[in-house]
Assembly symmetry: C2
Homo-oligomer: 115 residues x 2
DNA sequence: TCTACATTTGAGCAATTGTGCAAATGTATT
DNA sequence: AATACATTTGCACAATTGCTCAAATGTAGA
């Protein structure tokens, strides 16, 4: 990144203003991780399936038509990013949405697509 | 995907219920594309920079510290997915958020991280 | 302890992504 | 037409991703 264009001086105010209001790098990375987790068809299916009720790994495999292993890999990502939570019950592990924000965002996105 | 676990029969009701409520494959792919576009630090910086005001490619390069080329590549993705819109003015191209939903979702995400 | 089943994990691989570079394309001014 | 500047585009390449397969781990019951 070496280039700087000549409008720099002219737009200086807007640039400084926008720069000042930009969230911190760390926050940007966190939010980016969050959206990145939602930006995959398999993970989205998992999340939409969990909107109503908790489900186990195997249920999610049945619902999505993907291998148990594939689901488990994706669940780990969602778990690491605190998007889903889980509880163990015997041989099963039941997953659920971890946060109301997630439900809210999924709904806004669905609305966004339908309009 | 060959395995089917034995809880299938037992959980059948929940599975069918969840499957029925899952959005269509095409909708899932659209929403996934949408979140995928937000799930990248550079593109997020662009979007947060555009929350208040329109900016040109070069401004966005200055604000983010990335090359004009890198910004332009990312803007194309955001443009293709109808997340930003643009207007041309002489040699400059000014970009802006294309949709209130995007602003709304960015705000919910920011809140999500801060809590 | 042995067996069965649910889940997780690690390796490996094809496919996709994000960036810089260099060249091409717009656009205005002289 | 020639020049200058803003932007876009195609190529290349390292890095990352999502899946399968096979093996490992957890858990319950005989």
């Amino acid at each position: 990144m070496t280039e700087v264009c000549k409008v720099y001086e002219e737009h200086l105010d807007k640039i400084l203003e926008a720069q000042k209001k930009l969230p911190e790098e760390e926050t940007i990375l966190e939010i980016s991780d969050f959206f990145d987790a939602l930006g995959n068809p398999t993970r989205l299916k998992i999340l939409f399936a969990l909107i109503e009720d908790e489900l186990c790994t195997c249920d999610l495999s049945n619902i999505t038509g993907l291998s148990v292993s594939a689901i488990s890999h994706q669940l780990r990502i969602l778990k690491d990013r605190k998007i889903v939570a889980y509880r163990k019950d015997g041989k099963n592990v039941f997953y659920r949405l971890d946060d109301e924000h997630v439900r809210e965002i999924l709904k806004v996105a669905l609305r966004h697509m339908e309009e």
